[in-house]
Amino acid sequence: MLLSEAITQGPEFFSLAPWIIFFPVIGLLINMSFGGRMKERTIGILASSASGLAFVTSALLAISLLAHPEGAILPLAEWISIGDLQLNWSIRVDTLSTTMMLVVSGVGTLIHIYAIGYMHEDVRFKGDPGRYQRFFVFFNLFIATMMILVSADNYLMLFVGWEGVGLCSYLLIGVWYDRDLLGRPGTENALAGSKAFIANRIGDFGFLMAGFTMFWTFRTVTFSGVFAQVSQIAEIQPGAILAITLFMLLGVAGKSAQLPLFVWLPDAMAGPTPVSALIHAATMVTAGVYLVARSAPLFSAVPEAQAWVAWVGGITALFAATIAVGQHDLKKVLAYSTISQLGFMIAAVGMGAYVAGMFHLVTHAFFKALLFLSGGSVILGIERGHHHLDHENHHDEEVFDPGDMRLMGGLRKKMPVTFLVFTVGAVALAGIPPLAGFFSKDEILAEAFHLNFPVYILLAIAAFFTAFYMGRQVWLVFFGDPRHPAADHAEESPPVITTPLIVLAGLATLGGILNLPWVHTFTHWLEHTFETFHLHLHPGKFNLLIAIISTALAVLAIFLAWLLYGRKPLLKNQADPLKKILGPIFTGMNRKWYVDEAYDHLFINRYIDLARFLSIKVDWDFWHDWFHDRVIVAAYRQGARILAGPIDLGIIDGIANGLAKFFQAVANRFRKLQTGYVRNYALAVFAGVVVLLGYLILQ
């Protein structure tokens, strides 16, 4: 039954595991030190090879796992040793972590290659070639930290990676920190990076609290140490495990952009498209899913926490899907779609369908990276068209947003390859069989149907919206007539960009093979890891009814999208047809249900008020004006006066002057003796001799 039983004696490469981190670190060090003197292409190829070598290593690890499914733990160094706490920096190779390594390095390498072409054009349009090197250094750093995250053997090491990827996300969103979203001088990109970082910080607070509570309860933070005690602790202190898991959920909500902390992800689209694809779609944001799957024994011990996670995921999936429907920006649609799909995964792992969640994570990495990258190709194509126009027509100085779908249209003929791969991604995401998205999403829905029916309803509706907004996007972007001259002059991207797209399109098409119903390759693969912690997976039962329902919903949604956007393509300056039908609801979707405004109103402005109060009233008025300028200055002056007057003049000078006067007075007496007449001195000597002699004689 198990694939591994066929190969009992296979090659074993576990000792290579540290190289998944070392390769990208070497790449980034070389690029950081010598990138300034290298050609653009050399930098890009070096960074891609570093990531590619990490992929090869991961693949070797996966091959080793086929023969030795129990995996291995490689201690690299002793890290922390305080009292009873012994933490090693060790790399955990098991089927779960290796799955993540393969996704991160595999998709990562394709995106690295894509970025060679993309960033070349991006720096050309935005005019700062130095940013090219910086970008690839950060990109490799991201791969390295993500590898630390997935290969961690304890929660503290995982946290190092967790923070590292957050830092890389911040750095890469703000790679054009001195530009606004349209490439003009401004701070919007920097602000978007800060927003991502701060929202993640709130999540990290949850992660830290979970870690502290865990250490308090279990006295260890290693995976094996914690999971070994779960069943025992769950009987004595179920509240502690509930607290740990709920705090962890807050961390997951931050990193994986779930309600209520999802607001940073749409803004993070300010970063270059490869960043959006790699970090904010395929890998980093799935770290939360990985964390829940990794902590499966903890979550399985407390059903309340599982329900919380499933509900957060389900509500986020639907909520974000409705927002995606109302967006006009190409990347924003994909961003909300990512949040929604992450909601699917979180709901799945929350319900205990860990395999379904991880499976969707993998296929989603394929097709969402594909969508983002081909979206980036569309944007580049339009920028090329716009650039072309600028040459023809010099007084065209209007502000032009190359990501606005209302200005696109008709790109099917201008960019055929991009059109083809984008459509593959869209169909895969919509969940049409036999593409990858169908199998993974259907597995989640089938599991939800049995495990948590209300969440199933949420997810099914979200799946309907998913198909609808993807249909809307494809028709808006690629069909009809160009609604802007730039779209009319759009050009197809070079092979360095389209080749990774084609590979990803292949993966998005065939990804479902990983875990076909009735075969369950992926389930058996992950089983080895979960069985280590005495957690038995039940292979998801394929439910034909649910498969038919979800496919029918998807087809219906695509048909609706065709009715609205395909039958009569949008014309120039025409309002979105959905707006006429839905009215204020569409405005709500378009404005993201005013969540940002609500947060501004509830938290951010209150925080600014507090900061203003603290700075003006407390710091300036109280501390500076009153305390420093009045109290301290007055006290100082008073003190100085006392010290200068009575103490310095009175006592210290008094002593010095008094001594001087005393000696002066004494000296005035004695100077009378000094007559200057030698006779007097001689007489004194004579008298002294007489006295001495008299004394000696009379003695």
């Binding site: 200057g676 007449y677 030698v678 006779r679």
Partner: protein
């Protein structure tokens, strides 16, 4: 044999004359002579006692005193000559610039 007390009395008289001379005279050279007189009174006492006790060290001491007195005379007279050149006088009562 002249008794030792005679020498001592002569020495005391000479010493007293020298001391009084130093104390009351104003001429620097006369004061100098008073000092010489006192030195020689001491010399006389030395040789008298040396003879009395039949030891040679008292007489040797006298030679040293004479030698030192000669050196002192050289320095003292040079001082007096210099003072005379600047003040046109050797009256010690006028030399009171060290008055406090």
């Amino acid at each position: 044999m002249v008794p030792i007390s005679y020498y001592i009395i002569l020495s005391a008289i000479l010493f007293t004359i020298g001391a009084v001379c130093v104390l009351i005279r104003r001429n620097a050279i006369i004061i100098f002579m008073g000092i010489e007189l006192m030195l020689n009174a001491a010399n006389l006492a030395f040789v008298a006692f040396a003879n009395q006790h039949q030891v040679i060290s008292g007489q040797i001491f006298v030679f040293f005193v004479i030698a030192v007195a000669a050196a002192e005379v050289a320095v003292g007279l040079a001082l007096i000559v210099t003072i005379f050149r600047t003040r046109k006088s050797i009256d010690v009562d006028q030399l009171n610039s060290l008055k406090g």
